[in-house]
């Protein structure tokens, strides 16, 4: 199903003339005509939402793996450090011990942090694309408002949603992902600076479970896809 969506989403960029096949199956009224204008923009962007969220989830998993590695490194370093204290409790002076203990980060930690930062940066880029979709939707909404008779209600684009519903849905998704991105930023900045197990576990858990992506994110996305005829 995901592959299919990707194909639909990217066909817009790949081949402009090949609009017939793409649009035909989307017409909920069963009319075999290519989608054009506002409807086409909205349908393509709904597919984009699906692809972006898919990509986001992939990055989320990759980031989680790295965070796990960071945590393991830190815990390992901590237990090694404690062992050192036991072994040479009296043998070394305090000054020597301190210099030895705080001489730097565990090996490989920096590289992992860099990887994590890269992932977070890609997520930020993706976020910009998500925000652009909402912008586009708002543009379409304005256009439709101009075209419409001001005394009439907005007519549905596909099955039942008018354009402003799409704008709302997109804005809702965008807000959730924006907030989640902020959370991830803090995690990336702070995760390597702790060696308390509970705090690190909380960071890992927060990264994985994405607390600001609420339950209705799935419903919203699925509604958009159903509305535009992808489902």
């Amino acid at each position: 199903m995901a592959d299919e969506k990707k194909k639909k989403g990217s066909s817009r960029r790949g081949n402009k003339s090949n609009t017939y096949d793409d649009g035909a199956d989307a017409s909920p009224s069963g009319l075999q005509c290519p989608l054009q204008g506002s409807a086409r923009v909205i349908k393509d962007h709904c597919a984009d939402w699906h692809n972006h969220i898919d990509k986001w989830n992939g990055m989320n998993d990759a980031g989680f793996n790295i965070i796990n590695k960071i945590i393991n490194l830190r815990l390992q370093a901590k237990s090694d450090g404690q062992r050192k204290v036991e072994v040479r409790s009296v043998a070394t002076t305090e000054a020597e011990f301190m210099s030895d203990e705080h001489d730097g980060m565990p090996e490989g930690l920096e590289a992992l942090c860099e990887q994590l930062t890269t992932i977070q940066t890609s997520m930020a880029t993706l976020m910009k694309k998500m925000a652009a979709i909402t912008k586009h939707f708002q543009g379409v909404e304005k256009l439709e408002q101009k075209r419409r008779n001001p005394n009439m209600y907005a007519s549905p684009m596909f099955t039942s949603w008018s354009v402003d519903k799409f704008v709302q849905a997109s804005q809702h998704l965008q807000d959730m992902y924006q907030q989640e991105l902020e959370v991830k930023k803090v995690i990336v900045e702070d995760v390597a600076h702790h060696d308390d197990r509970d705090i690190m576990m909380m960071y890992a858990s927060t990264w994985l479970h994405q607390p600001y992506i609420e339950d209705d994110a799935v419903v919203t996305l699925e509604s958009m896809l159903t509305e535009t005829g992808f489902r």
Binding site: V183, M201, S205, T206, H209, Q210, D215
Partner: protein, 207 residues
């Protein structure tokens, strides 16, 4: 006399069928066991995360940036974790239902064999049914084994039901001991199943 040997044949046939069924049930049960254990491990894992977060919130360490920046984050993450635990509990509930189905089948084997015995008890003298050969166990032994297996599965089912009913997300010690409690009786059941099936292997092969 001829009649009696015919009835013996009938009894043996039923017992053979029962043990064959039990043998096939064994693999189904093992599958159920391993899915349950993986769900339990996940549950313990999520519960551990949940308690780490509770401790983080309680300790309110001042250099914890995440909570400082997002004051409601722990509530949200706890909600997500509880949701996940609920899902896993649901899976375990399904698992217990599967075990219940297995138990009913095992029980049926005992009931069926016992029914044949009771119906023909007058033609099956005690000295005959307690007499076994080197390869064929006696009828009395085999009936007893069926009953034992039935009782073991009964225990498994009741135990797991009780473990699941005792779940309390806020009790860390309890959450971490779930899988040990859940597994209670598994090893004994497996051993005695293997044992019984080994004892009747020649008997089943001769049928």
């Amino acid at each position: 006399m001829a009649n009696s040997s015919k009835i013996f044949d009938l009894m043996h046939k039923q017992l053979r069928k029962s043990f064959k069924n039990i043998e096939s049930i064994k693999n189904v049960w093992k599958n159920t066991c391993s899915t349950a254990l993986s769900s339990l491990n996940s549950l313990q894992n999520v519960a551990e995360q949940y308690h780490c977060i509770l401790r983080c919130v309680r300790s309110q360490s001042p250099d914890f940036m995440l909570v400082k920046r997002f004051p409601d984050i722990h509530e949200r993450i706890q909600y997500k974790l509880i949701q996940e635990m609920e899902l896993l509990i649901e899976k375990l509930q399904i698992n217990i239902d599967e075990l219940q189905a297995i138990l009913s089948k095992v029980h049926q084997q005992y009931v069926n064999s016992m029914a044949v015995y009771k119906k023909n008890a007058e033609h099956l003298p005690l000295d005959k049914i307690t007499e076994g050969t080197a390869t064929w166990p006696s009828v009395a032994d085999m009936l007893e084994w069926l009953q034992d297996v039935d009782a073991l599965f009964n225990f498994l089912c009741e135990n797991q039901r009780q473990v699941l009913a005792s779940v309390n997300y806020n009790n860390e010690e309890l959450m971490q001991s779930l899988s040990t409690k859940w597994k209670r009786g598994n090893r004994e059941t497996e051993e005695s199943l293997e044992n019984v099936l080994a004892h009747v292997s020649f008997f089943m092969a001769d049928g």
